[in-house]
Amino acid sequence: MTTTYRSVHQRQPRLEGAAKVTGGTVYTADLRLHRMVHAKALRAPYAHALIKRLDVSKARAYPGVVGVFTAADLPQHLPRDGANRLHTVLADKEVMYYGQPVAAVVADEASVAEEALDLIEVEYQELPAVLDILDALKQDAPPVRHSMAGIDRSELAAHTTLAAADEQTTEKTPPNVTHRMVWSRGDVERAFKEADVVVERSFRASWTHQGYIEPMSGIVDCDRNGDYTVWTSTQGDFTTREGLAKVLGVPETKVRVNFVEMGGGFGAKIQPFGAVLPAIIARILRRPVKYIFSRSEDLRSADPSSQAYIETKLAAKKDGAFTAFKARAVYDSGSFPGSPLMAGANLLGAYYKFPNLEIEGLEVITNRVSQGALRAPGTPQATFAIESTVDIMAKELGMDPLELRIKNAVTQGDLMPNGRAFSKIGLVEVLQRFKETSFWKNRNGKPSANGKKVGVGFAVGGWLGGGSPSSASVELNADGTVSVMVGANDVTGTNTSFAQIVSEALGLPIERINVKTGDTSLAPYAGVSAGSKTLRTVGLSVQRAAQDALDQMFKIVSERLECSSEDLESVDGQIRVKGSPEKAITFELLGTMSTGFGSPTPVILGRGNVGTPAAAPGFTIQGAKVEVDPETGEVNILDAVCVQDVGFAINPLSVEGQIQGGVAQSLGLGFSEEMVWDDKGVLRNPTLLDYRIPTALDLPRIETALVEVPVEGAGPYGAKGVGEPPIAAGAAALVNAVSDAVGARVYTLPATSERILAALGKLPG
């Protein structure tokens, strides 16, 4: 493609970046309102217990305390069936996870609220806790919660309409199994019999935390009319409005959510966990209530990513053609259903052509905090299982692991496990491009030395991406600048990319374009910034709105200059006649005309709105080169790469940064990140000291290579979702590299020193 672009496809530094890195950006915790009070939650010290007695009288009497609330003090109209985590604001008689809020203290100062928490007396009766994912599958396991009647299984059922077979849970279902599904095609058993090589393994991936910098936080005010105003760290202002309205039992328009910059979410901030409690209390007190999680509270009581147990069985012919794949995937959802089972189980069998396939998926609940999304939810776990299995298969076949993947990679028309066919995808292109990376060319660059072993591994990853309707407006101001308004929360630099799209469409320098995310009472609707969809959905609306504004300007100019709209072009802030640049009207003049007192010219206001665009799955291959110390189990990551099909990079700088961030996160899942609950279900590492997110010293330079297989209509210029694919495969690549280095394989994520030494047979037992 030889099209040249003025603004898109150019490396554009983030427009809000300087304020963020210099400390100028205002976050929820920075805000103070008149008459504001502070809420703090008392959190349960047990994973499973009955609340026998709860006495808050001393806390209520403490100087500076404005109110103390338990489940019994919350308005009776609130839904409290325990079916939904959002509705379970404070534990009602039963505690289902360690860290669950039991009571809330509101005081003039946060420190006073914290002091008063100590004065609350609670008597618990400890109940058996179910923690291990395999224990949770057992028929005779104690129930994770007393009443299972309240469990809402509809959310999962809604995803399974295309399942070849979907068994509803029945009386015979073990008490903590909340969903079971089976996808199958062909005859796997026969294929296994006829195969030349069969590989069968099982894998575990641990619970992990999204690791965002800004903890959950919210401020909610409620006025005399019962109108709520919200400031909260969220990925979606409109979804926050929707979620809060549902919990509060009010129409959505009674809730106004202001845009505040968010310090990272990675999926955790889809649900408004920071805003529900202050909203309910604000309604009671008629005062603004601020609720900020400490780091420890966030690690204990937010919505981390679930553990999974996955069994795989892969069959191939001698020539490397995969003939069958059978798997059983169990995802732990924590104390409420809603795990990424469907996404994970689907991608488990979606990277390769499998003529025969059978995937059983199970969701279980355990006595842990409920899980939430983490960037391509469910996928790193599934990818670890399939991509380890494929590596083992390559070894068994004596084939090059990259060639084996290329031979079996899915292309347009191939079926996913869920029965849907792939649209145009770029997996094979990505695999071919991998061979041209510096990573690949230098893979044999450093020999093993000092007893340390160097190895190279890689893995395929992907994400199907989500979608939702969206809208945007583009307005010309009197001074010739343009205001773009969207309802999408800028999580990843999307507002910068929107400015590039408008700049491209209008021929206006980016400095004169101002993109703002409006509050929900003013902004055009957009869905939550999740599912790798913001740029491709809202970006299409922005592109249309810019085109609409341009059409309106062309109409005015063509009348003024007495020419046809087709003869006009927009260049460098003016609209001019093609071939006669002296015949031009500037944006400033148009802006003055369209806003002037008494002017007959209408305001230039472009509108763009689209439904969910075509799907655009994004695929990657990720590579890691590691140096392993086989005597200590230490892993030093020497090099990493991610090749990704992005469709079309609106802002390559931003895209590469996002990919590097995803790779960093995926390597953390690979070697260091793990939430550790003890035998009683108490989280033992609720600090960033003991929950180890990799630092700059742990990570190598991360090479990125963009492949562009645009899909018409999927996003502006054919752009695809970028955010999620790069976390999918890094952990699997790292484990494959460790295996290449030391010849032993780790079957549980993360690959810690201990697990590597155990894999090498160096530990007793």
């Binding site: 200590t632 033992r684 990799p694």
Partner: protein, 331 residues
């Protein structure tokens, strides 16, 4: 965090007077351990809620570093780890100490963290540090690591309590035969670091001999020994902000290539810095080579009693002893 009262101590004497006066007072220097401890609300029958902070950074000369050929090194306990890492006297005469003080936490924390604080910091045991667990160290009657998650706990000398000593600096001080100068109401005393740390068998509540109203004012290291060699190694899960899974400070005095004297000290393996006299016995009078180093390492861990999740630390400890001996001996 609960409210605390702040008192500035202009002299060491003022500091111990304040500590003697208030049973819930604690001396604070860099605060990188103590503030986290208070914020995490770690209290119990034997662990009061510290609500008075006696600032000792205000003490003049408390951070002085002095070196003389005759007397050796005198380090004010308020010297930061960065002060020591960048001090020429330390780099030139005590490479083992210079290496050890460069290992804790991160440069930012080493800029505020003092050597006294590093020596006296509390263990990182995630049961001790969890407000929910009333363990022996807080006055309770259980060690939760025994039945719970113990991948970072003791493999040697655990008894009642299975914490590991967290310091990177302490093993180096033992290896260098350093002494602690302690000031209390009854005056000053000097105690070798080999008698400074206290295991659970002696007193499960504390990790060292300091009484509530005593302070560590100075660290004294004897003059450098000619023909001595040393090595410091540390294994962690992460490149920065991490305590040792195992660390080791090795000091050797060689005579014609044979080991005349040695001190081999590990942290991260036992409730106190663990001097491995067993390993020292193996190498005494001998020339260090691969086989001898391995023999010393095996001997050092003969009495290891790993728990359910921490057998890997035995392997790592052996590896570090072997490597450390070979590195120090230049073999």
């Amino acid at each position: 965090m609960r409210p605390v009262k702040y008192l500035a101590a202009p002299t060491w004497r003022d500091a111990i007077n304040a500590l003697a006066k208030y049973p819930t007072a604690k001396a604070i220097a860099g605060g990188s351990d103590l503030l986290g401890w208070i914020k995490d609300d770690i209290t119990g029958a034997k662990e009061p809620q510290w609500d008075i902070l006696v600032d000792i950074r205000t003490i003049k000369e408390g951070a002085a570093i002095r070196f003389s050929r005759n007397e050796g090194l005198r380090i004010g306990s308020l010297a930061t780890l960065t002060d020591l890492e960048s001090a020429k006297e330390v780099q030139e005469n005590y490479p083992l100490l210079a290496s050890a003080v460069g290992h804790p936490a991160s440069p930012g924390i080493r800029n505020v963290g003092t050597i006294g604080g590093n020596i006296n910091q509390r263990p990182r045991c995630w049961y001790l540090r969890g407000a929910e667990f009333d363990c022996y160290k807080k006055g309770g009657d259980f060690c939760f690591a025994v039945t719970g998650k113990n991948e970072y706990h003791a493999i040697l000398e655990g008894e009642l309590c299975y914490i590991v000593h967290p310091s990177d600096v302490a093993p180096a001080l033992l290896a260098l035969d350093a002494k602690a100068k302690i000031l209390g109401p009854k005056g000053e005393k000097t105690v070798p670091f080999s008698e400074y740390f206290v295991g659970p068998r002696v007193d499960v509540i504390r990790e060292n001999i300091l009484q509530h109203d005593e302070v560590l004012t100075e660290i004294q290291i004897p003059p450098p020994v000619p023909s001595s060699k040393s090595s410091f190694l540390k294994v962690t899960n992460r490149g920065v902000y991490d305590f040792a899974i195992v660390n080791i400070a090795t000091w050797l005095k060689l005579n014609n290539g044979s080991v005349e004297d040695s001190r081999i000290v590990l942290s991260g393996v036992a409730p106190t810095p663990h001097r491995s006299t067993a390993a020292e016995g193996v190498i005494k009078g001998k020339r260090i080579d691969e086989a001898l180093a391995k023999q010393a390492a095996d001997q050092a861990l003969v009495r290891a009693r790993p728990m359910s999740d921490n057998a890997y630390k035995v392997e790592i400890a052996k590896t570090l002893i072997r490597r450390s001996l070979l590195e120090a001996a230049g073999a």
